[in-house]
Symmetry: C2
């Protein structure tokens, strides 16, 4: 894997503002000349080092093996892992436009697969929508065609929390988010009413959440968190025209997802299929909730190998 920071020059945003000098941090796994380019897109608090957080999908022996294809991870515009920080409101389309420009600098005009979970899946869909002729297939896991009221509300109250305190508030925002990522059944089984093992809190689940709060503060800052949750809110491909040349789309709904319920993802797939696009819907049976795309990545990879990529890669 090689990491690079790519200067893409000025970037005009959907909101009309111009960012003067934008950089994109990328990780490249395998040889870009191999003829098969996979763009692996990260979620809210992820980064471009895809193999680190998605080992079931990217790595030797994984679904996308850098020995036979080239996987590119790009840190989202506005994120704090090496791409240009942004304080303006940006959209998923802005994020995708910056990615496309970075790939052009790398000499890559076309990608075979864009794939991501959650906000990464939104980017994959936006890629297919905005530049249908430059992409072979988009795969979105735990991501519908628009951000709905519940997700908007959860993002909004997380930003409210940041406004109370940029550090403790970020920790609380992460706790709110975690409870939307995990299923009730998983929390019951893992934590139930058990006492906190460290004795600092009453219950084990509270100690778990405290740990998540501590960790997020080391990984991301409040400004990035606000920018990227606003970008997620902006995502809306529900009532849009999908180009005739839209490549095949694969939607994966997670059975226990309460943030982006499987039913809504299936609805999205059906809406787009009605427009004559080649759409496949797969349901991922998991107890892990929205988080399943990370927590059960090996199982997800098998599911994709059997369905979305059977005979494709």
């Amino acid at each position: 894997m090689t990491e690079r920071t790519i200067a893409i020059g000025a970037l005009e945003l959907d909101g009309g503002q111009m960012l003067p000098a934008v950089e994109q941090r990328v990780a490249i796994y395998g040889d870009p000349a191999c003829g098969q380019i996979v763009l692996a897109l990260h979620a809210l608090t992820g980064d471009h080092r895809v193999a680190a957080w998605w080992p079931g999908l990217v790595g030797e022996g994984a679904l996308f093996d850098p020995r036979s294809c080239c996987v590119i991870g790009i840190n989202m515009l506005g994120s704090c892992y090496g791409s240009t920080p942004v304080r303006e409101y940006i959209t998923i389309a802005d994020i995708v436009r910056a990615q496309r420009r970075a790939l052009e600098v790398l000499g890559i005009e076309r990608i075979d697969v864009a794939i991501g979970g959650s906000m990464g899946g939104m980017q994959a869909l936006q890629w297919a929508h905005d530049t249908p002729d430059r992409i072979g297939r988009a795969v979105a896991i735990g991501a519908p065609d628009h951000t709905g009221a519940l997700a908007i509300a959860l993002n909004s109250i997380q930003r409210d929390s940041l406004a109370l305190d940029p550090v403790a508030g970020l920790g609380l925002a992460r706790k709110i988010a975690m409870l939307s990522y995990k299923s009730d059944a998983l929390l019951s089984r893992r934590h139930g009413r058990r006492r906190d093992r460290n004795g600092r809190r009453c219950f084990d689940i509270e100690g778990f959440l405290d740990l998540q709060a501590t960790r997020i503060v080391e990984r991301i800052d409040a400004a990035t968190y606000a920018t990227l949750t606003h970008a997620m809110d902006s995502f809306d491909l529900r009532d849009t025209d999908w180009p005739e040349s839209t490549p095949p789309l694969t939607f994966v709904g997670i059975s226990s997802d309460t943030l982006f319920p499987a039913r809504e993802i299936r609805d999205a797939a059906e809406r787009i299929a009605c427009r004559g696009i080649d759409v496949r819907y797969i349901e991922f049976q998991s107890e892990h909730g929205h988080d399943a795309f990370l927590a059960e990545d090996a199982t997800l990879a098998e599911l994709l190998a059997r369905n979305a990529f059977a005979g494709v890669t």
Copy 2:
């Protein structure tokens, strides 16, 4: 309706502390000598004026009509609507013990029905468990036999929010709670991606949540909120012995409830039925989520009339 503040004297708590001089604020609808006593128990932010927030269940022409029975509402120990504020950790059993003492002062030794939704349902079950010979039937709507990991976690992060700021943090706590009370489907239908009608926020759902935050600060204080959420956390009748004389119990699960899912309430009903107790489980079909016991109280009353109270009252 008459309201009274009842001095019940000193009260020993489950935690061992003694509260020196406890008062309970009650609302009495109808004549206590009528021979049929209904105890209607309120949820986290409710109060003793039951007819105001549960008109489908309490009032002339409602399920419990003060012309033919006597309905008593009691403000929970630790709540700020006239009962004694408490800064100690209290349990649902403490709250119920204080209620029982208040009824004794009123000369009421036995109640026919204890009924409540959410935390009110927990109190109804605790009544049946702790004093089975003094109660004819307990009805719990949207309340299982124990507070599980998700509810504990949501309560905990709401208290984290209070710790950041007793006013703005209480507002945020209420927003977190509201998102656990309403179903995704309801939020989608009511708010979707519509813009905020007042233009202060981006989205309508954000304006709705701001309004809820403003209202809660006028209704309750942070200390009450912390005390009562801790009491809710304490609730655990899952692994307890249920007395042989336990009166009939009715559990109502709400189909779209994500805070206390219907499946868990059905499981609770089955667990207790296995111990030889007379338990009925009813499923309330509603799109409103946990909030349905308040939002669709007339429908709930019909459901109860057809099932739990058919031939009973």
